[in-house]
């Protein structure tokens, strides 16, 4: 048993060293903590043998919702896809830590890139008005009728699109988005919450890195 755990420890250490070489924002000790947290969350694979090992969509969504306060269906799916870089329907240790580096430590530039990729639903490097409408369609839940809700969302999309389409070419490119956010940071999560808020980040770091703080 002690052999097993010693081996596990060594494995984690090796993996941590390799990952921290690639993810600048965490040091090796922090990466170790993150790996351990990841393994805990992973637990026993839900259906052994099937698919690549890692967090599947269901587990990932539950973490987003419970730990990071991201609960919109569209956003959860998009964030999962952006974490899952190799597109194998599961988030590996490395993918998890790379994703977290943006969540926890990302600079404004990192976050702008991340959010834009999340909002670009068909991955064509543009956010169209239709995509916006799709993401925002439930954002005015307080209006009484469906007609009013649709009308309101359409209005809000038009206002926002007009504001963010900096070069007036009728399309929202990355550069439009970047300029708009740099001017008004509040527009970073313009089309849906896809990053954890300050409190969630603080709570997560405190829990996962607590042994480092001692």
């Amino acid at each position: 048993m002690s052999n097993m755990s010693a081996m596990k420890k060594r494995l984690i250490k090796t993996l941590a060293e390799s990952i921290s070489g690639q993810v600048e924002l965490f040091n090796t000790a922090e990466v170790e903590c993150l790996i351990r947290d990841y393994n805990e969350r992973l637990g026993e694979p839900t259906s052994p043998g099937k698919g690549a090992p890692g967090l599947d969509r269901v587990k990932f969504r539950s973490i987003l919702q419970n730990t990071f306060g991201i609960s919109d269906d569209i956003m959860m799916d998009r964030v999962f896809r952006k974490f899952d870089k190799d597109n194998d329907s599961s988030v590996s240790t490395k993918e998890w830590i790379e994703g977290l580096s943006i969540f926890l430590r990302g600079s404004l530039d990192d976050k702008i890139k991340f959010c834009f990729r999340v909002y670009d639903l068909n991955d064509d490097t543009l956010v169209s008005m239709e995509e916006m409408y799709h993401m925002l369609k439930n954002c005015l839940p307080g209006l009484p009728t469906k007609e009013e809700r649709d009308e309101g969302v359409k209005d809000l999309v038009e206002i926002t699109f007009k504001k963010m389409d900096r070069d007036h070419d009728g399309r929202l490119s990355f550069s439009d988005f970047e300029q708009s956010v740099k001017e008004e940071n509040l527009l970073l999560e313009a089309f849906g919450t896809c990053l954890p808020n300050f409190k969630r980040v603080e709570a997560f770091e405190q829990r996962v890195f607590r042994e480092l703080q001692k």
Partner: protein, 871 residues
């Protein structure tokens, strides 16, 4: 005058540039209302009529002294009422053509005297001063609309609110009963939230007009938009002090629009204070800057709905989204609102009018940082508008804003403090900040080290938070209680540390706060002992007018202290102060710089240093064509400089004497005190005295003895002492001033010891001329001096004894002093601890002792024993 009058009355600007009431029927009926109100006020409300206004009513009258009857004190052209206020100012005063009135009873009397000219007088009175501060009552006066058939309900509570205390908790102010012709009688409650029919609290209207419109079809049909706009009394009700004009005005238009078709009567009572609400009212004393504040301002409103700008409708729609949207929609909507020009009043008021303020404030109570930041980004801009700040405070928004001062998110804290800086521009808001612990929280924000060489991004944010915190404290520091609260929270040390910052945008609010607080002695001491004088002096030389002004103002206030004056010289602050005089175009800066020079020049060593930079010559050039706040300081400084003999010649050679004498004809009391002092100091030089005399300066100084201000009287009397002492033929000079000696003897009836001391000193000088002493004696100087002998004030005793001594030298005055009983108290003076008192008393007793009866009295009183002790 009152807001309502400003709004209701139709002003025109006459060719002379003076605002006149236009001769319209509306104005005429308004005038009649006011006149009727004034005439009846003192008989109907005798107690209230005696209350003294905070500021007098002042206007140019056609009345002259002969119009006034014997129950006034009349001398030549001037008239005073025998009734005076606490500070000894007559409640009515006429210096033709200006008349000053300080109470309703005096106003009533005056209107009666005016007889067939009374309409003109009332009109002139209204035209005289119609700024917003004039007609404030000192206490909780409530005014009852006199021309309505009204009956007192039950009892008026001491805070002026009509509502009983248990209803005041619900923010209710008063109750009205209106009987329209076409519906049943309306029982209406006015509360801070609006106006509603009793029992129907769910339907709250913004004002009485809106309520009447919805309940009375007749009213709705007949009242046009303009009337409705003007009827927005509720906002006036709970945010303003109501003057009787509001009531007169309300009567006028109700009458106008509902004439004979509607029976109505109104029980209407007014608070002179904002209703207490749920916040405990504490006593507040405020610093001078408070007075120039925006307590009342009228609001420009569009004439009707069709005039509303398109922004209004867009903002209304967006505010709706804020109410129904999720977090993402809320942030997008906030960003959309930010794209409007939020510094424009139309947009600011639109946000308020569509209920946007409530929503923005509610967002501050949520957990969503982005929403809070967005909300504050809007609030910090629209709160530049006075109506918005009031509305925010009225709805308790300041408390919600203050909750975020503890947030761990620095951007949020900074925005929060910046918003408070804008909102806390009026007294009630500042008090709220203090009462809800805001001062402590704000002082905590200042905790940073601002002058590190390399700041990290986080440290830079800390500095920004501290800067915004200081801005908020600066606004708050205009209330005396807040100054103390800042000090108690450790703010002085923090401000001292921020004073080391290299950045002007930090230094301006820091020094701004310090100079505001330097009105308090504890701050002046702290500024000196914490080593801040050095930094203040250093920043005098930065090329930024505003910063220089605040630094100079801080030195102005602190240099009353000798050690501070020394430090300013030590740190080489005198030269930069003189350099500031070259920025003569910036009057505020010039006032601050000259103030600092004035106070620093109280130390002779500083005057010597100032002379190396030719300060006096520059100051003398500033004696003409400057605003009064500059002149007061310049003249004050010249007065100090003139204590040194060489400077007296400089003043003469630069034409300063003529400039000073010209200023003697002014009306600003602070200025007159300084001018007389400077003239007195200059008069100690014989050559100067010749010029003063030639320019008729002595007569001008003498006539200032008639000034109602005690400080001016005494300062003028001291100056006269110097003039008489140094004039060539002083006796002839004094005699040439007709009525002068009578005037001076009469001032021995003053109740102010400084005035009495100065007048005694002047009498001692005058009495050296026998002829003049004879005239003084005829005017009863012996009896009047004797009456004062029981004083315990050593300064007065000294000059009184001197006057007695000199007045002995005419006729039977020695015996008269004895008969009047002056001797015994004078003997007692020898027990005083003041050597100067002994000296003049000894001289007086020597003179008195030449009358044998007096010797007996002295002996009885043990003069020998006492003088031994005194020696």
């Amino acid at each position: 005058m009152g807001l309502s009058l400003t709004r209701a009355a139709q002003w025109t600007t006459a060719a002379s540039g003076v605002d006149k009431l236009a001769p319209t029927p509306m104005n005429e009926s308004l005038l009649k209302e006011v006149l009727c109100f004034v005439e009846q006020f003192s008989s109907q409300h005798p107690q209230e009529a005696e209350l003294v206004f905070e500021e007098p009513l002042q206007w140019s009258t056609t009345l002259v002294a002969s119009d006034f009857k014997t129950d006034y004190d009349i001398s030549d052209l001037d008239v005073q009422s025998p009734e005076k206020d606490n500070e000894g100012r007559p409640l009515l005063q006429l210096f033709p053509p200006t008349v000053c009135v300080r109470s309703f009873s005096q106003l009533s009397k005056l209107v009666k005297l005016a007889d067939n000219k009374k309409m003109e007088e009332v009109q002139a009175c209204l035209e005289g001063e119609h700024d917003d501060h004039r007609l404030k009552f000192e206490s909780d006066l409530f005014v009852q609309l006199p021309s309505f058939p009204c009956s007192l309900l039950d009892y008026v509570f001491s805070n002026g609110c009509r509502a009983p205390p248990w209803r005041q908790v619900l923010n209710e102010i008063c109750y009205l009963v209106i009987e329209p012709c076409d519906t049943e009688t309306l029982y209406i409650t006015c509360s801070t939230a609006g106006v509603f029919l009793n029992g129907q609290t769910s339907d709250v209207f913004e004002d009485i007009g809106a309520l009447l419109k919805s309940t009375s079809p007749h009213f709705a049909q007949n009242a046009n938009e303009q009337v409705l706009m003007q009827m927005q009394l509720s906002s006036i009700l709970y945010s303003l002090l109501l003057s009787f004009y509001v009531l007169s005005y309300m009567h006028t238009f109700l009458h106008h629009y509902l004439r004979s078709k509607v029976h109505y009567y109104i029980f209407f009572f007014v608070c002179s204070k904002t209703p207490a609400g749920s916040v405990p009212v504490d006593t507040f004393s405020e610093s001078s800057s408070e007075s120039e504040e925006e307590e009342e301002q009228s609001e420009r409103r569009p004439e009707s709905d069709t005039d509303l700008p398109s922004e209004y409708w867009q903002i209304q729609k967006l505010v709706k989204y804020l109410k129904v949207g999720d977090q993402t929609a809320t942030v997008l909507t906030l960003c959309a609102i930010m794209d409007f020009n939020l510094m424009q009043e139309t947009c600011q008021l639109a946000i308020r009018d569509v209920g946007g303020l409530e929503v923005l404030i509610n967002l501050l109570d949520t957990d969503e940082v982005q929403c809070k930041i967005g909300s504050l980004k809007i609030l910090r801009k629209i709160s530049h508008n006075v109506h918005i700040r009031r509305a925010i405070v009225d709805m308790g928004g300041l408390q919600s804003i203050m909750k975020n001062l503890d947030s761990p998110v620095k951007d949020l804290k900074a925005l929060d403090a910046e918003t408070i800086a804008n909102v806390a521009r009026f007294r009630r808001a500042r008090r709220t900040v203090r009462q809800y612990g805001g001062i402590k929280k704000l002082v905590k924000l200042l905790d940073c080290v601002p002058n590190l060489a390399n700041l990290t991004a986080e440290q830079e944010k800390d500095v920004e938070v501290a800067r915004c915190g200081t801005l908020a404290l600066w606004s708050c520091s205009k209330s005396t209680n807040n100054k103390e609260a800042i000090r108690k929270a450790g703010g002085v040390f923090m401000l001292g540390r921020l004073l080391k910052s290299p950045h002007e945008n930090m230094l301006i609010p820091v020094v701004g706060t310090l100079q505001e607080c330097a009105s308090e002695e504890k701050y002046r001491i702290a500024i000196q002992t914490e080593g801040m004088i050095k930094d203040l002096v250093k920043n005098l030389s930065r090329d930024n007018d505003e910063l220089q002004m605040h630094c100079a103002n801080a030195i102005f206030k602190c240099a009353q202290d000798k050690q501070t004056r020394y430090l300013v010289r030590q740190y080489k602050g005198l030269q930069p102060l003189v350099s500031l005089l070259s920025k003569a175009h910036n009057k505020q800066l010039l006032a601050a710089a000259t103030g600092a020079i004035w106070k620093c020049s109280i130390s002779v060593e500083n005057v010597t240093k100032f002379q190396e930079y030719k300060a006096l010559e520059t100051l003398l050039r500033l004696l003409t064509d400057q605003p009064e706040e500059v002149l007061v300081n310049v003249v004050g400084a010249v007065g100090e400089f003139a204590q040194i003999p060489d400077n007296k010649a400089t003043i003469r050679n630069c034409g300063g004497i003529r400039s000073l004498v010209n200023l003697l004809t002014g009306t600003n009391q602070a200025l007159l005190v300084n001018v007389t002092k400077a003239v007195g100091a200059c008069a100690t030089d014989m050559d100067n005295m010749i010029i003063i005399d030639k320019l008729d300066g002595v007569r001008l100084v003498w006539s200032l003895l008639k000034n109602p201000c005690a400080d001016v009287q005494s300062s003028a009397a001291w100056a006269l002492c110097q003039c008489i002492e140094n004039a060539k033929d002083a006796g002839e000079m004094v005699r040439s001033l007709v009525g002068g000696l009578e005037l001076i003897v009469n001032l021995l009836k003053s109740t102010n010891n400084e005035v009495l001391a100065s007048i005694c000193a002047a009498i001692a000088k005058i009495a050296r001329n026998e002829e003049n002493l004879a005239v003084l004696t005829d005017h009863g100087v012996v009896q009047l001096l004797t009456k004062l002998t029981n004083t315990t004030d050593d300064r007065l005793r000294r000059h009184l004894a001197e006057a007695v001594g000199h007045c002995c030298m005419w006729g039977s005055n020695r015996a008269s002093f004895g008969d009047a009983g002056a001797v015994a108290p004078l003997v007692h003076y020898l027990k005083s601890k003041d050597k100067a008192v002994h000296k003049t008393t000894a001289m007086a007793l020597y003179q008195l002792s030449r009358d044998p009866n007096n010797c007996i009295t002295m002996h009885d009183r043990g003069v020998v024993k006492v003088s031994r002790c005194a020696v």
